[in-house]
Amino acid sequence: MTSTETRSTATGAPTGAGRLGDSPLRPDGTLKVTGEFAYSSDLWHDDMVWGVTLRSPHPHARIRAIDVTEALRVPGVSAVLTAADVPGENAVGLEHLDTPALADGVVRYQGEPVALVAADHPETARRAAKRIAVDYEVLPAVTDPRRALDADAPLVHASREDNLVRAMKIRRGDPDPTAPVVVALDFEVGMQDQAFLGPESGLAVPDGDGGVDLYVATQWLHVDQGQVCRVLGLPPEQVRLTLAGVGGAFGGREDLSMHVHACLLALHTGKPVKMSYARDESFFGHVHRHPAWLRYEFGASEEGELIYAKADILFDGGAYASSTGAVVGNGGTLGLGPYRIPSVRVDARGVYTNNPPCGAMRGFGCVQAAFAHEALMDELADRVGVDRVEIRARNGMREGDHNITGQVIDSAAPVAELIRTVRDLPLPPEPEGERDIRELPGGVSNTTHGEGVVRGIGYAVTYKNVGFSEGFDDYSTARVRLEAVAGEPVATVHTAAAEVGQGLITIEQQICRTELGVEQVVVHPKDTSVGSGGSTSASRQTYVTGGAVKAACEAVRTSVLARAAELLQRSDLRLDGDKIVSGSGEVVAGLVEVLDEPVEETVEWRHRPTFPIDEETGQGNAHVQYAFSAHRAVVDVDTELGLVKVVALDTAQDVGRALNPDAVVGQIHGGSAQGMGLALMEEVVVQDGHVKNPSFTDYLIPTILDMPPMQVKVLEYADPHAPYGVRGVGEPPTISSGPAVAAAVRAATGKALRRVPIRPEHITF
């Protein structure tokens, strides 16, 4: 094992030759700083028209009639489409085909797409959309998920028996356990938005032959393609997707947004159609993180050793399922945190309501649970008089332990080391003397010069599954081509795995350089002309697409050596850099000498299988890999105004092996910021099914003034089951940072604070 300490000030220029373990420059970096990188909202076509969406103003209503006459009369309008114009099956969805591409007879949430307009200017299209007359009959709405399963609750989907999306049970050990020390709490987590900066957008170009090419920002081209094909009634050959530049994702691009709509308009008008949401529409255009209501109970020995744990977790899925089922799966199987617990009873449920649909966001079901189990762990520590760090070390999982589904943790589980590591990192200096107001709660609002300000420290740990779980066929495809160009060997790597900013394309290059000994690696545009790369989510791409690229490179190497063996009439050959050498190490040929013809191999690669869990007991090997992290937060709280300044947010994380150390640290920084945001400021406020703050004026994400310096300690305990020993990186920081911040605010204020985001009035009243 090696350990790399990386402080923010220690990161430097790119290192090494761009192979694994180096931190080469990202290949799109220069394009991104010069403004030349083509994001999905930058696309343009000479003949294009603009598409816009008319959305429902009601959380639940019957559509009696839609009259588009006045909209069609607006000069410049080329099409107005409704559900009646959908040529195929009007149903999409990641887990259930429960979501109409355009509302058909009923709307189930505020913001549901009802009609589309294409016009020669976006403002013309918006004005025309306002002239579409929709006759709504408002229906009773289910807006409190805690009442969604009541017998008298209105049904969100009339075809279903109830509003349940998924219920999961986990039962392990003593069914009726007792313990000398019992602590319990209720916790509530608000609705978080991914708030990626690049709006949902893209360009659909009809091919003149009944098919369409869609250039779009997404996390998973192939699952999009399947859904678009279903609605258009076209085969995959006629619906080709290419990844446009992606301005962040964080889960919010796993479901469709404008994909189908742009294609419908393009096929209807025969013209290229551009769609690009404004920020207010973006808040209605993608799923959010599920709000959750959590009831937890821990039973422990007098020494604070867990004897049992119970949890009841309710996720508000909103109007359509999206990935609610998998979020329930994660909340259930991982919702008690990275602890050894002999007896367990967990019930996790996700329900339909007439609130905004919720689905994937970084941390996926673990984020909500971590706020509850970490708050309760602090309470247990205080009750039994054990230090809050030590109680986590004492109960923390270790390699070889069983988790609550009975799965053996068969690689590193360094919970105790992680939490002690963050404890031992240097603390920020104690405040003294005149302070810079920019470093105080309230900042440049100049609300305090230190009076009423109290400091607090909080800790949290987490673990998160990597990759898709519960028996999902989780794979990626890579095509690698090796050829001689101008006398130099050049590799081209082609996958459909989405680069969303995290740096997958850099990793793909690093793997090719390492495996094939070449310097030049071209990353082919991401599209559906190669097999699926799976989703850019679940912290899985370096593992799974990385595994596929590695396997494809190995296949290329085998082919090259077979060709060399034939040409050179000897069998003891291997590749050493760009040379072919004999068993004794003698150079017998340059790589390019055997590349008269290109060598190309395509490989579909799978990680170890996972399995569904037992429906009654929740037992089973649900996940392929677990990733662990810990955070320590230091906050200053203005106890009179309820304002919080995070002074330090330090973390330790096991990444298995850091293939690109700078990119790893970048993921940890960004993930930590999003967790902090949920703890203190980020919430989509929904009242009676209506979103009250769909803007960056009213939905706050952390600014550079809000973020503190972060110390990051990266541990590298290679996972022997994963390619190169990697462990997924992206999500754990988002899970453990928020609970650490909340704990620090509790420590500063002495308040229970059982809801996030923590608002000023929670502190002052």
């Binding site: 909202s41 930058d42 343009w44 403002e123 962040g248 970048g666 004026t697």
Partner: protein
């Protein structure tokens, strides 16, 4: 209406501009300069930052007609033969992930360093507080600004 303005040193004009269009829209959709970004179009995120007669503005909040006869500098105008030191620092320090905020950060950083060649961390944070980034947690952006200040 027609607007005429100087963009990145060149005289440019656009016809059929609707009075309600923003300078951002005119740059992106009429003048072929999509480097300035459209993350919020309400003046909160800073991704559309350009210089109008040398002053940084959110181009989403400036009507295209207001730029008539004036000088605009966009991110496309930062680099000469080589990248500007601020651009170079952002690439090298890992301050770019998805990169959608990057053009705005570059414009705000360059403006800061012109006013204050050696800013303290609190000064950097205050100067860049109008630019949102969702990917980096800002640590490597700070690294980049510090590095650019030293060049």
């Amino acid at each position: 209406m027609r607007i005429e303005l100087t963009v990145n040193g060149s005289r440019r004009e656009a016809d059929d501009v609707w009075e309600g269009e923003s300078l951002l829209y005119a740059l992106r959709e009429r003048l072929g300069l999509p480097g300035s970004k459209n993350a919020c179009e309400q003046g909160e995120c800073g991704s559309c930052t350009v210089y109008l007669d040398g002053t940084p503005v959110c181009s989403c909040l400036v009507a295209a007609g207001q730029a008539q006869g004036r000088e605009v500098t966009t991110v496309e105008g930062l680099a000469g033969e080589e990248l500007d030191p601020v651009q170079q620092a952002f690439v090298e320090k890992g301050a770019v992930q998805c990169g959608f905020c990057t053009p705005g950060f570059l414009m705000s950083t360059k403006d800061l360093l012109e006013r204050n060649p050696n800013p303290s961390d609190p000064e950097i944070r205050e100067a860049l507080a109008g630019n949102l980034c969702r990917c980096t947690g800002y640590e490597k952006i700070l690294d980049a600004v510090r590095a650019a200040a030293q060049r």
